[in-house]
């Protein structure tokens, strides 16, 4: 095992997807904590569905599969979706879950239709990719071994999803640290927060924007399953471990990291342990590991019950 990890092949083939998976999981789990506490856990679900038409439109307009136009397209689609959901909710006085359901399914359907009608499928842009990403195809061609991590020339050829997600993760982490008190207050006691003059609406919008950025940046590399699973599962499991927000965030990051690394290892090497040379879907396995962690927390987490509920 150690020998395998030290080999150049590991750095070339296994390290990039592990790194990208890890960064994506952390970037999604972090804002997921606040979404969970605000009962907005399904926003990640909606955004990752909505990103598809944005990405397809960006491709049709620019004719390339470059990352930035697609990120912009997905971001624009997310904005349109949020505006539509609000309009449906307010004008129709429709409950927000149903309003969300209408908008994200319709936009996703439009994305699939656009995809089918265009020739995008010839450039590896297809629905399967959107759903479960292409972690396995991330390869660091110039890697000669672990030493390449210190070699600027080799580092420049890392799959670009890695530095992009690193930037997103650092930005979200910094913003979370910077606005920690505001986020905590508006999450736990919005009435009090607005009474002492905090712009609750603005902070909520900022959180939604950070969520969209994380979802869209991760979506491209790892597909929507991981995005949805990471917004919900690690924070939910962490919530069952502790009552303190700081510890919950820390737990959720640990769980996200375990899911990312453990899921990738199980998917890539697991079948080998049963004597099969093949690999199974890494994105799917990461979600499954996250689910297993959540299941364990549901069964044995020290703070799994509602306050006031007696142990049965």
């Amino acid at each position: 095992m150690i020998e395998e990890i030290l080999s150049p092949e590991f750095v070339m083939i296994s390290l990039p997807p592990m790194l990208v998976g890890l960064l994506a999981c952390l970037a999604c789990a972090l804002p997921g904590n606040f979404l969970l506490l605000r009962r907005q856990a399904l926003i990640g679900d909606a955004i990752s569905h909505v990103a598809l038409p944005g990405i397809v439109l960006a491709f049709l307009l620019t004719g390339t599969v470059a990352a930035w136009p697609m990120l912009l397209g997905a971001g624009a689609a997310a904005l349109v979706a949020v505006a539509l959901i609000e309009a449906v909710r307010r004008l129709g006085r429709i409950e927000s879950g149903a309003a969300m359901g209408v908008v994200f399914t319709a936009l996703f359907a439009a994305g699939v239709l656009l995809l089918e009608r265009s020739d995008a499928s010839s450039v590896h842009l297809d629905v399967q990719h959107a759903l479960y990403g292409n972690l396995e195809s991330l390869i660091w061609f110039d890697a000669m071994g672990w030493g390449s991590l210190l070699d600027p020339a080799a580092l420049a050829t890392l799959p670009e999803a890695a530095p992009r997600l690193a930037v997103v993760l650092v930005a979200i982490a910094l913003l979370t640290r910077l606005f920690w008190k505001e986020l905590a207050l508006t999450t736990f006691d919005p009435a009090h927060a607005s009474a002492i003059g905090l712009p609750t609406g603005l902070i909520g919008a900022g959180l939604a924007a950070a969520t969209a950025v994380a979802a869209v940046a991760a979506f491209d590399a790892v597909g929507s399953i991981i995005v949805i699973a990471m917004f919900v599962c690690p924070p939910a499991a962490a919530r069952l471990m502790t009552d303190r927000l700081g510890r919950q965030v820390a737990w959720s990051l640990v769980f996200a990291a375990i899911s990312a690394i453990g899921g990738y290892v199980l998917a890539g090497y697991g079948p080998g342990w049963f004597g099969r040379p093949d690999a199974v879907s890494a994105a799917g396995m990461i979600a499954v590991v996250a689910g297993a962690i959540l299941a364990a927390a549901c069964l044995a987490g020290p703070r799994r019950r509602r306050a006031g509920a007696t142990a049965a």
Binding site: L36, R39, A41, L42, G44, D45, A87, V88, L91, G92, R93, I94, E95, G97, A98, A99, G101, V102, T105, A106, A109, A110, V112, L113, E116, R117, V127, Q128, L131, Y132, I225, I228, A229, F231, V232, C233, A236, R239, L240, P271, R276, D278, V280, S281, A283, G284, M285, I286, A287, V288, A290, G291, L294, C298, G301, R303, R304, R305, A307, A309
Partner: protein, 405 residues
Amino acid sequence: MEALAALVAALTLQAGWNASLVALGAGMLGLAAGGAGAFLFLRKRALVSDAASHATLPGVAAAFLVMVAFGGDGRFLPGLMLGSAISAGLGLALVAWITRATRLAEDAAIGAVLSVSFGLGIVLLTVIQIVPAGKAAGLEGFLLGSTAGMLQSEAVTIAVAGAIAAALVFALRRPMTLVAFDPEHAEATGVGVWRTDLAMMGVALLVTVVGLKIVGLVLIVALLIIPPVAARFWTDRVSTLALLATAFGGVAGYVGAAISSIEARLPTGPIIVLAAFAIFAVSFLVSPRRGVLAALLRRRRLEARVHLRQGLLALARGEAVYDRLTLRLLLARGWIRRDGAMTEAGRAAAAAAALDEARWSLARRLLPEAGVAERYDGLTPIGESLTPDQIARIDRGLARPEALA
């Protein structure tokens, strides 16, 4: 033109036996989905079915593996449907258990079950790729639905199952309406809320399973959510809402399936969803009660009334009016001339407005017991708010202001 002819043929069931069966099946499915969805919507459970539909994937994949392991054809549709129903049921049970046994809210439970079971399904799909019989399994078709190249037996299965689901919704409509409208009352009259909710989830499950092949598991939830939301724009009555949602769902399923049968590159699931969304979009725009156009019109009308009233009061006080909109409105009513001078009718209207305003302000002092202050909005003529007797009393006061002091 050719496409139009093909569409007409498909809509009138002239496009071949299979296509007709699929269109009928999709129509039945839509009816059942709209009806069941209406009750899910009213019970605020709309997104629970999203967890169930994503949870079908591991069931489909596992059923395929089991059938292959026993030497059968892994693509046998009823077998796949049974597998998907079992795992979707498990998914629903998990959502219920997480919400009850832990302190996590329902949305978190839904998100977790949805994503994890979908991830598990994808893992199993890649396992299927590994086993020899799985190379051409084509189970990816269940993600977004595909009716192209459907076997006749499959089309029959779907049409029959869709009809059963629609019949179930019809049979359960009374208890479901009662529970949706007033759960406590329903419980008191002996309609078990828990039992009815369970039956409703059962129908939603059936819709999901039947819809797998046509609409696909990613989008089937749309057929449960969009029709009732569209119906909500037209009515406030539970029974009408259920009826409308059923009809909307049926039309979306039937028309969507017919459109997609015209050409290969019109995927069935997305087209059906977009057909439902088109119905929603029309409702959202033009519904007379809650539609966007109606809201805009109401706003314009209110704005016009405020401007007219304020313009008339200004004219009555002998002040000049500068506001463009006010001037235009006064001109359109024939109350002023182009040079801004009042017409005869304008003088009468201004005098009436001034009298009304004077009556209101006195009414607030004379009749505090009638809640006049709350009813004054600066627009409503006083005659609509007070009785002639009360107005006569106010007018006596206006005629002799010194008597009031």
